[in-house]
């Protein structure tokens, strides 16, 4: 069959139209599709409609059960990936910060405390949260993904830790990805101080949270620039991180798959008391604190209690405070 110039012109015109249409369709910026196993629910700043599913365990306290599971571990194992430089001799990227946070998440501190027991009011059809958590193991990653991170980088770092066996692959635990202050994560300090999510990694539904060193933006992520455990004035990173760790670990336990406990505005239990601390005392260095755990003072935001109509308090059954 001989292709004439005229027919070829028609063919080119047709090809042109197809390509142009294809191009125009491609101009639409990508929609956000959740990957299998992920859940597009709230994003924690009161921005997404709740997804009503499943039976309600407890109602009428300003927060709703949406059908998903909670973590029942006794204790819930905590795994830490210390990312970046944590060996500085000054500031808060130090071994002292590592030691303080290890202690905070270790035995006889946050886990089992009256504060953590507030979480026992959240449950699912299998039972309630135990109010106990404990550091299980940790590793150091000095920067396998560089110092400018996006979520995909964090996933890679966690995946590497699991597939190489440096950390166990535990769908019932919470993985904390803690970054030093020289590491940038898009959105950190302008949108958030931390976040939690779940993803299928190494074949398991892994619950992980990002928390950056809050010394990167004290005005955004620290309630005071000098905390009760600060090594020097203005070095509040460790205390600031502990506050965010508390927030994220509470939520990762009561809403691990982003489909369990949150209110109609998408706020989870800790979101409802974000940066609300209640009454405080003053430490020797002038910093305020509102909890004493394991012999150390901490400044931790309150948590939403799912009883008595709901409210923010510092300990299970304690007084509700609005700020």
């Amino acid at each position: 069959m001989k292709l004439t110039l005229g027919k070829f012109r028609y063919f080119l015109a047709f090809l042109f139209v197809i390509l142009a249409a294809n191009f125009l369709v491609a101009q639409k910026i990508r929609d956000n599709h959740a990957a299998p196993g992920e859940h597009m629910t709230p994003n924690g700043d009161g921005t997404a409609a709740a997804r009503p599913t499943g039976p309600t365990v407890v109602t009428g306290n300003g927060i709703n059960y949406n059908g998903g599971p909670v973590l029942h571990g006794n204790p819930v194992p905590i795994y830490i990936i210390w990312y970046g430089t944590w060996t500085s001799t000054s500031g808060s990227n130090t071994a002292a910060t590592v030691s303080l946070i290890d202690s905070f998440l270790g035995a006889n501190s946050l886990g089992g405390s009256g504060y953590e027991k507030i979480n026992t009011l959240y449950g699912d059809s299998s039972g309630n949260v135990t109010g106990n958590l404990q550091l299980s193991s940790q590793i150091f990653d000095t920067g396998s993904q560089g110092t400018r991170l996006r979520n995909a980088n964090i996933t890679k770092a966690i995946s590497s830790a699991l597939t190489t066996g440096k950390l166990p692959t535990d769908p019932n635990g919470v993985y904390l990805f803690l970054t030093s202050s020289n590491v940038k994560e898009s959105g950190f300090c302008t949108q958030f101080c931390g976040f939690h999510t779940d993803q299928t990694i190494n074949g398991a539904d892994i619950k992980w949270a990002f928390i950056g060193n809050t010394d990167q933006c004290p005005s955004g992520c620290e309630i005071q620039s000098t905390g009760p455990n600060s090594p020097a004035a203005g070095v509040g990173g460790a205390d600031g991180m502990i506050n965010v760790i508390t927030h994220e670990s509470e939520e990762a336990i009561t809403d691990p798959d982003l489909n369990a406990w949150f209110d109609s505005s998408g706020n989870e239990d800790a979101d409802k008391c974000n940066f609300k601390f209640g009454p405080t005392q003053t430490a020797a260095n002038g910093a305020r604190f509102n909890q004493t755990l394991g012999g150390l003072n901490f400044m931790m935001q309150m948590e939403w209690e799912n009883s008595r109509g709901g409210g923010c308090d510092q300990t299970l059954g304690g007084t509700f405070f609005t700020n």
Partner: protein, 173 residues
């Protein structure tokens, strides 16, 4: 020769349109965040403004704006905030519901740049007038209070704004 020229033209066109694919928007990560203190505070202020609009509370709304406040939208002149207040206080406009999301705050000390996505269910003269809007607000500190100085707003999903070229005389009338 003409065939070759035509092929080159098609290839050139394809190359040009391919390069126009950028920028690619990063996907939205399913996650629940701990909002920063500024996000928490400005989220409250923005909601306060929207509640004033809902309640037709002109005094409350006006108290949150600077004297020279202006609102900018694509393909239109800047609107003085006094005119904006009149338009949203008009009984023909009804703001039923709204949701703010994806808020980001750049804290500049005495000023702050706040961006967010607003989905609203509203009506004007009984007809649906809502949708999704991307908003950038410039807030300025006024003593201990924050006031809105400038707002830049565009509808999400609308056609990209293209600057109009100079009007060429057609020779007709």
């Amino acid at each position: 020769m003409r065939l070759l020229t035509m092929c080159c033209a098609v290839f050139f066109f394809m190359t040009v349109v391919s390069s126009a694919q950028e920028p690619v928007k990063p996907s939205l990560t399913p996650r629940i965040i701990t909002a920063t203190r500024q996000v928490t505070m400005f989220s409250g202020l923005e909601q306060q403004m929207l509640h004033a609009v809902q309640n037709k509370d002109k005094a409350a709304l006006g108290s949150m704006l600077t004297d020279d406040c202006a609102i900018n939208m694509p393909d239109s002149d800047a609107m003085d905030c006094a005119d904006w207040i009149d338009s949203v206080m008009n009984k023909d406009f009804v703001l039923a519901k709204f949701v703010l999301r994806q808020m980001s705050v750049a804290d500049l000390g005495t000023a702050a740049v706040v961006s967010y996505d607003r989905v609203q269910d509203s009506k004007y003269q009984g007809k649906p007038d809502g949708g999704e809007f991307y908003v950038i607000d410039l807030w300025k500190k006024d003593g201990n209070a924050w006031k809105l100085a400038n707002r830049y707003v565009s509808k999400v999903g609308s056609s990209p704004y293209m600057p109009k070229g100079p009007v060429k005389p057609t020779g007709k009338g």
